[in-house]
Amino acid sequence: MRRKDTKNKPKSIMEMGFDFEKPILELQTKIAELKEFSEANKIDMSSEIDSLEEKLKERKGEVYQNLTPWQRIQIARHPARPYTLDYISRIMDEFKELHGDRRFADDKAIVAGMAKLDGQNVMVIGHQKGRDVKERTYRRFGMPNPEGYRKALRIMKLAERFNVPIITFVDTPGAYPGVGAEERGQAEAIAVNLEEMSLLKVPVIVVVIGEGGSGGALGIGVGNRVLILEYAYYSVISPEGCAAILWKSGAEAPRAADALKLTGKDLLKLGVVDDIIPEPAGGAHNDTEAMAKTLKATLLNELKRFKSMSPEEIVTSRYEKFRNLGVYVG
């Protein structure tokens, strides 16, 4: 009894069978049954169906407003969630990808390139995850090696030299923990990006579109503006990792997710992000087109902020923004 129009859509969150989706799933089933019954028996039940549809809308709102941080993380990691290249192809008029760090390799977990946003030149850099098993391995699950950070920096410096604003999309579980990554200085690559990004004379707009996994996220995340999608998260450590260390059990991940204050609302309060970009009902993956449209409008607005700022003001305001982060007494 699956409706025709859902056939070619990406798997919805319903089909993933998240527990918190149950009330919605039940209503949807009921509506489908009613429709089938009314068609089969040629009885007009449109008023009943309409009222159920209304109820479904309400339920969706309720469920998505009351998600726990752990449930939000499931959405941020949803396999159908749009990734950097999904947005680039929908938002940018043109995109020329640039490859390699000129030292060792081209890291596939970070994509970067020249793009046109409504006719404006922008340099776009983002973590890239893979959709299927093969692509996921190819993209190393969106977990960069040092080469990824070095490629990103090379291209950011290029943007700076030619006065092009930078947009970064953050979506990584973290920097890759591997032998080669350590041998080639994963920590140094991230540290250098943090320092160098703070000195860039062009505006940097950062959008956390999915997972903001620790230093691996921050490595392309030092922006004049740091925005986050409604169901994305940003954390110093994965809830699983945190639970394993502090609770001695990975099963306590939901509790760790609560404690880590990693949702958009929490991050806004802490000053870690500047704004939250709303997602379509049911999350970005339920309507990638609508999400891309919102994101494009937001980015165009954000770019306007910097039109009248001097390079010095751009550098100073970015420095001050991060300089002021931290809470302590004394």
Binding site: A175, S198, G326, Y328
Partner: protein
Amino acid sequence: MSLFGRPKYSKIFIKKKDIPQGLWEKCKNCQEIIHKRQLEENLLTCPKCNFLYPISAAARIASLVDEGTFVEINGELRSSDPLKFVDSKPYSQRQESSIKSTGLNDAIITGWGTIKSIETALGVMDFSFMGGSMGSVVGEKVTRLVEFGIKREMPVVVISASGGARMQESTLSLMQMAKTSAAIGRLREKNLPYISILTNPTTGGTTASFASLGDVIIAEPKALIGFAGPRVIQQTIKQDLPDGFQKSEFLLEHGLVDMIVDRKDMRDTLHFILSFLISGRPAKKNENVGSQSAKRGSRNNGSGTVEELAMARSIN
């Protein structure tokens, strides 16, 4: 925001608790019997096998600066537990017990002193305070130290011993990586030297920020230094890790540190590097507050100089 350092560390001797109990001690590395005093005189380095015992920040400072010259700054900063973080224990409780057991307010002591007469801004982390983790306080103190160095035209030295970013302050800890690194960017633009010394262990967010940004990076022998912890890497790659992986010698081999220096040679090495790098700098624009006040102090009666120094400085 006027912050006065107290001359608390003007004279530091290695504290009792840093030294294994008893007169004689079996080295945990080579199993040889070593005399306690010998260990102390050797800066907690085993005289038989050169094994490095953990050393407190205070003792480390004493081993590097000219006696009586160290003035702490920003020592009163403490975490306010901004997330009200509770795991198996509340963060505030972990913090309190660390304050009690270490006598520190957080995992780093910052200040300035002279190293064979070279005025140096110096930060030393202490692993015994919550694993040397970096939260808002460590980030703020490192940043202020670097700003102090810029303002006073002093080279900056930071000695790391840290498990990384402090989980209990989540993204606020993470953001300290960006904050400290940005400050070092400003220091670099002023052509002031920044020396980073990595000790056992230095991992995670600390390595991925200020600890990896030294103009010269020095490691103590056999220290664990890396981004990801060895256990996490092993779980990811599901293979045995290479011999000596993430140890100082491994990092030297892979071009990630400039040199490995024994603890007892650190002061001489630091002095050589600092004097080498600053010798080409033009003279300081303004004679700094510290030396003026020192002169005034000695004109008075020669005593209380260090205290006057402390009172004379305010950092904004």
